[in-house]
């Protein structure tokens, strides 16, 4: 009766081990819905990677609110990637956690404020990349360095955070420029926390900046890097034969032709039928988005459910926990209790169950 993520455990763990050993300095990223697996499972898995001797001594979460869920299960350092601000959950960190947390500082005033509140705070200094989300410009980096000097202590700088966009083409030119800025600002650190670099780019970065330590932050390609190890299924909850013109559903639509109505597990509460924009701006992709948005107006729309390898149509917009599919005459009709495949965006789906075999 559930939307289930089934994980081929051996294969998944094999992939995690392989990626971790090929990525020295790896910092697993776990945030949000835990890439579909859940934060606590991933935190335990990160600890397991550490216990395997693969050097995972730090993991990254997105927000301060995510800390409590992972802190008990992973025993190393905890990097919070959302920059520290003088409000919200950032100010409510348990004292017993304080020394494990590495903050991200993206503004001079925050450096001052954070270190005034917690003189022994550990932090990375984020620099503004071409993504322009958070981070210091060259000028504000100079200001932060001045703030650190004025505080007249040995602040615990843990490195520089560089959050790169998902650009095609090489990032190395941008990384070089940013590192040059860090050198110019005389920030006293030789550690770079970087995201979204390919293995080749990381290799080049390491050989060009051998006097720096590189910590690659990896989320998607770690947890979801081997899609073949993952299977998502919904359960067939009910099957009804439909005649042409018969009325069904919340909205009282009528069947355009004869077939079967399938009620399957998985609805808007799971994220089915909702999607995060992919960022694909092609005409085709935009047309597809329009078509999905116009679900009510015109006929049926493709669902993420597939039966015998064929993607099936939604009979009406997904309900909260279930969806209705239309199966035309002639197709094999699955039995109640059968599992059918669902294609989902893992970062936007909450599963009822995660089964690791």
């Amino acid at each position: 009766m559930t939307l289930t993520l089934t994980v081929d455990g051996d294969r998944w763990r094999g992939h995690l081990r392989e990626l971790a050993s090929a990525t020295p300095g790896l910092v697993p990223v776990l945030k949000g819905n835990g890439y579909g697996f859940g934060l606590s499972r991933l935190a335990r898995r990160a600890q397991w990677l550490h216990d395997q001797g693969l050097g995972v001594d730090c993991l990254a979460v997105g927000t301060y609110d995510e800390l409590p869920e992972v802190a008990q299960r992973f025993h190393g350092d905890l990097l919070v990637m959302t920059p520290w601000r003088p409000f919200g959950a950032a100010l409510d960190i348990d004292d017993h956690l304080a020394q494990r947390v590495i903050h991200t500082v993206s503004r001079p005033e925050d450096a001052h404020d954070l270190l005034t509140r917690r003189p022994d705070a550990r932090f990375v200094v984020e620099v503004l990349t071409s993504m322009r989300r958070h981070g210091h410009t060259r000028r504000s980096l100079d200001e932060t360095v001045q703030v650190l000097r004025d505080l007249d202590r040995h602040p615990r700088i843990e490195g520089v955070a560089i959050h790169l966009p998902l650009a095609s083409g090489s990032h190395l030119g941008e990384v070089r420029r940013l590192v040059n800025t860090v050198v110019g600002a005389e920030l006293r650190t030789r550690r770079l926390w970087v995201s979204h670099l390919t293995r080749d780019e990381l290799g080049t970065l390491r050989s060009t900046y051998q006097d720096f330590e590189v910590r690659p932050r990896v989320g998607t390609s770690l947890w979801l890097g081997d899609r073949g190890a993952l299977r998502v299924t919904g359960t067939v909850l009910d099957v009804h034969a439909l005649e042409r013109g018969e009325v069904f559903g919340y909205r009282g639509r009528s069947a355009p032709k004869a077939g079967h109505l399938l009620v399957v597990s998985g609805g808007t509460a799971h994220g089915i039928g909702l999607e995060a924009p992919t960022g694909d701006t092609s005409i085709k992709a935009r047309a597809a988005t329009l078509a999905r948005g116009g679900l009510d107006a015109v006929g049926f729309v493709r669902s993420p459910y597939s039966i015998d390898g064929k993607q099936r149509l939604f009979a009406e917009p997904p309900h909260m926990q279930a969806s209705m599919l239309f199966l035309p005459q002639g197709a094999r009709v699955p039995a109640v209790g059968d599992e059918i495949d669902v294609r989902v965006r893992y970062t936007a789906t909450s599963f009822d169950r995660v089964v690791v075999t």
Binding site: D142, V183, G184, A185, T208, Y209
Partner: protein
């Protein structure tokens, strides 16, 4: 507010003299060494105070009255400044007014340094191909700030593939002399260098400064034939010797190493303030075993020390550390002196007229 205007050569020279050092390519005398280009001495002024200088060489575009304004290893300004725009914008305005379609300059700031030992290890290590593959001893903050500011201000870094392309070398080899004695500098050299210097003395090689430009040039042409490069004509050296010499009697010096009456090595040394350069060198094919080249270098280093120089500059190296690269011998020779490989910020262009600069850029690429 900084303003830029042309100044007479003597005022330019006076400013260069007031500074600890400047590149010899930024002295007013250098203009006379390059007569094929129109040259201009510029002063940077804050109020009435001259606070910077530049030697600009205008290189004309074929058939057009438009120029690339070239400032080799310059300008001489406060590169520590956090506001390079204040210096460079009025300079660019002036050059535009002179018909320049673009500016090329070589900020005389170091970005990275490597020790001689690191260079040596790099050559021995098979996985290391270039200086880039070796973690530097130092990354210079000033150099990094210059690079960051030039990028922000729209200057374009000129890539020098392989090191010795057009323009001035980006990587040089230098021996720091500041605060060191002769013995200390000698002790910093590798065993081979020290042995060769001793050997030359034992064999009776005598090194002296002199004025016989023809003798230097004859040996230099001989070296060019042996090593397969195109020699410059005697007239070039004559102009250089006379122009630089007229500026300051200690500016340029010819050096000769003789063995039993035979000239075995000869060099040209240049010094501006605290910076001394080994500029050109020549050596005989006969009698290599008496080590005239080592002897003449050692004498030049001693002379630089005696004159209060802080840096002895062996000039360009390529950035290769590949044992199979033909250029590596030159680096090995220079690295044997101890000292360090230094990387400069490189040459940077500012387009002033986009279409003309683009055409020029394309022309240079095709030619290259």
């Amino acid at each position: 507010m900084i303003s830029v205007r042309p100044v007479p050569a003597d005022k330019h020279l006076e400013f260069v003299r007031s500074r600890p050092s400047a590149s010899f390519l930024q002295t007013p005398a250098w203009a006379r060494v390059k007569p094929e280009w129109r040259a201009e001495s510029l002063g940077f002024f804050r109020g009435d105070d001259m606070v910077g200088s530049a030697l600009v060489l205008y290189r004309q575009l074929p058939k057009l009255k438009r120029y690339l304004a070239y400032l080799p290893e310059g300008p001489v300004i406060d590169w520590e400044s956090d506001d390079l725009a204040a210096w460079l914008a009025p300079m660019a305005d002036h050059l535009r007014g002179q018909g320049a379609f673009g500016v090329r300059m070589g900020p005389p700031v170091v970005t990275r340094r490597w020790s001689a030992a690191q260079v040596k290890e790099g050559i021995a290590e098979e996985s290391v191909h270039r200086l880039d593959d070796v973690p530097p001893l130092e990354r210079a903050a000033t150099g990094a700030r210059v690079v960051a500011q030039l990028q922000e201000l729209g200057w374009r870094e000129q890539s020098v593939e392989g090191g010795f392309a057009a323009g001035q070398p980006r990587h040089n080899f230098q021996i720091p002399l500041k605060g060191r004695t002769e013995d200390e500098v000698l002790a910093g050299m590798n065993q081979l260098w020290r042995r060769n210097i001793r050997k030359a003395a034992k064999q009776g090689v005598e090194v002296s400064a002199g004025t016989d430009l023809e003798a230097f040039h004859a040996l230099y042409v001989h070296t060019a034939e042996r090593d397969g490069f195109t020699p410059r004509p005697l007239s070039y050296f004559r102009t250089m010797y006379e122009a630089l010499g007229a500026e300051d009697p200690d500016r340029i010096r010819l050096w000769f190493a003789h063995h039993e009456g035979d000239l075995v090595a000869s060099t040209i040394g240049i010094r501006v303030g605290t910076h001394a350069w080994y500029s050109y060198g020549a050596s005989s094919t006969e009698k290599r075993e008496v080590r005239g080249s080592n002897a003449v270098q050692w004498e030049m280093i001693r002379d630089a020390l005696g004159a209060g120089a802080e840096v002895y500059d062996l000039r360009g190296i390529t950035d290769t550390l590949d044992a199979d690269d033909p250029h590596v011998g030159l680096i090995q020779f220079k690295a044997g002196t101890g000292g360090e490989a230094v990387e400069y910020a490189g040459e940077w262009d500012l387009p002033l007229s986009r279409p003309l600069y683009a055409a020029f850029d394309l022309y240079m690429r095709r030619r290259g």
